[in-house]
């Protein structure tokens, strides 16, 4: 293994920045879900990388928990997309105005 911890951390920072860009710019519900996925994966990469270099099994265990919870989050998010699409016939979040005061 020749790569060092800093390399993995920098890749993770790049993925986090791309995800935040997606959340800030895109107004499409599905694209925002993509951005959230990218951010969660950046966090998982950090967990496993730090767990490898400590070394401690806690990093991998937490990453497994994180992956499982992310799966639940995506299931709920996609069903929300389907419900919102059925109500508004659109995936633009600017059109979802039911909760707007």
């Amino acid at each position: 293994m020749t790569s060092e911890l800093i390399d993995f951390t920098l890749v993770s920072v790049a993925l986090l920045a791309i995800g935040i860009y997606g959340l800030a710019v895109k107004r499409n519900f599905i694209r925002m879900l993509f951005a959230v996925e990218i951010i969660i994966n950046a966090a998982n990469l950090n967990l496993v990388a730090f767990g490898r270099f400590l070394p401690h099994s806690g990093g991998q265990t937490l990453a497994l928990f994180s992956i499982a919870i992310a799966a639940a989050e995506v299931a709920v998010g996609l069903s929300l997309i389907i419900v919102a699409y059925r109500m508004y016939q659109n995936v633009d979040i600017a059109d979802f105005r039911s909760l707007k005061g």
């Binding site: 060092e4 791309i18 860009y21 996609l78």
Partner: protein
Amino acid sequence: MADAVFLALSVITIGSAIAALEMRSLIYGSIALMGTLGGIAGFFFLLDAPFVALFQLAVYVGSIAVLILFTVMLVKRELIFKKIEDKRRKFAGIGLMLIIMVSLGAIFLDSGIKTITTDEPTVNFRDIGTDFVTYYWPALILMGLILASSVTGALVLARREDVENDQRIN
């Protein structure tokens, strides 16, 4: 120093993350997202964590990406290809992205992380299994409950009541 495999994986991961957000078609975007998730699994293999890597491949690439693909296909055709964003917001977003990348990258490069190397043996996946059933068992049960409730919630949310009523009338 990073080796060739690492560099190739980083290019694939970061490139397909950008493609997932910027591709015109949502279907190609979700296939690019699959590339990002697969690239992260490759990083897990590089980090000597094959168990987490296979879990990532099974859960993310195998189920979540396919679920997203099917949801995209349920959306109207013209919405899949429509890009909704304004230019000023996009430039502001790119600026925010560069600021985060440069500042966080500078912080990490300046910190003590740079000097950390390891030649210790890798974590055995049996340790992970032992962790799950000894120290983390309440969290494991809680995670099972959360998964069950979220899947039930997703099914209840996505249920079509109008179809059911139609069938009842017929």
